[in-house]
Subunit: 183 residues, 2 copies
DNA sequence: ACAAAAGTAGAACAACTTGTCTATCATTGA
DNA sequence: TCAATGATAGACAAGTTGTTCTACTTTTGT
């Protein structure tokens, strides 16, 4: 019973993430997953409901991945290196948990749904807040500038890597710059 | 003759930028602009052609705006302040040339068209390159780290401002951090 | 003044969208 | 064993999409 639900969730995430939510119809999801349309509508109230569930699924996976990555480092210097090297590894498609890189799912989704008051936009904002809080909790040097810089450079690196494909230089510069801020 | 073309272009840009390209159909564009459907298809080969023309239009406007903003400052410190204060002003909707803020049109568009080999994605990449080159040409201190940091923080600030709505803190931190890099 | 060009409104079309519904088959728990 | 549950394929309604086309009117250059 829940196997079908998970299958639908994973298939939808794959299709939505790599091809865009508006470009993927219900029919494609059921065709790729091999699940009947009626089964989909018995698990989800509609496409919007499915999108929300997919966002939640991705959020759980991403946060778990990030928590795991940031659990080891001790000093802030190590944390910064660890964070940006993990991002680099993600961009290069070497992070199994996240799948091959297709940008930030939440940024992409937010760009597709321009209505800032929709449930979807709200969830994208929530995700970014959670990521920020996670990074903050791992920092020893509690400086707003440092936290802001880390989050902005991270965001910039993700969108730049997605848009241009290149990222090594950006990651290295981010690390260099941030090391200068840590007292 | 060209009046209709420009009217279509400006109407399409407005609708595409604030509501997303995939969410806006040809019928909406002709309804809002008041131009006949056949006239649209006499000026543009199809929706894709219109999108490319709109991207080009926005690119011209944005580059001209940025060139104007960055023409005054002398030192790199002034350049950094000027750039990020201009961004802040854009986010706040105080830059007439750019209209009210709806994120970066090229990032948003790139997120909607996931096929990285399409004409549309290529143009988005081209725009970002041009912006980077413009900033580079204005910098006295030719440091790759400085240029990368400026571009990444700028990108991060735009997407963060679009997603969360807040930006003042991010802009201030960006300036603080960058001033530490300039020798 | 008049022919050519450029505009108009909107019908038609094929291909798609989400969502509902019918009818049949398989699994399973008591 | 047998009723209940869950899944299946696919037709269907109602709507939207991009695009083409016809028939008519306005603008424009000479």
């Amino acid at each position: 019973m829940n196997q079908k639900r998970e299958l639908l969730l994973n298939t939808a995430l794959d299709l939505f993430y790599y091809k865009g939510i508006n470009s993927i119809g219900i029919n494609e999801i059921i065709k790729v997953s091999g699940v009947a349309k009626k089964t989909l509508y018995s698990h989800f109230n509609g496409k919007n409901d499915l999108i929300m569930a997919v966002l939640n699924q991705r959020h759980q996976v991403f946060i778990k991945w990030l928590e795991d990555k940031l659990s080891r480092p001790g000093s802030d210097h190590e944390l910064i290196d660890c964070l940006f090297e993990s991002l680099q590894s993600w961009f290069d498609g070497n992070e199994q948990a996240l799948g091959s890189f297709g940008g930030c799912f939440f940024i992409n989704t937010s760009a597709e749904f321009s209505n800032q008051e929709s449930d979807i936009s709200h969830y994208c904002r929530y995700h970014k807040e959670q990521v920020r809080q996670l990074i903050q909790s791992k920092l020893n040097f509690k400086s707003p500038d440092l936290l802001n810089a880390i989050c902005l450079l991270k965001e910039g690196a993700i969108t730049t890597a997605y848009l241009t494909g290149e990222s090594i230089e950006a990651i290295q510069s981010s690390k260099n710059v941030l090391h200068k801020i840590v007292c």
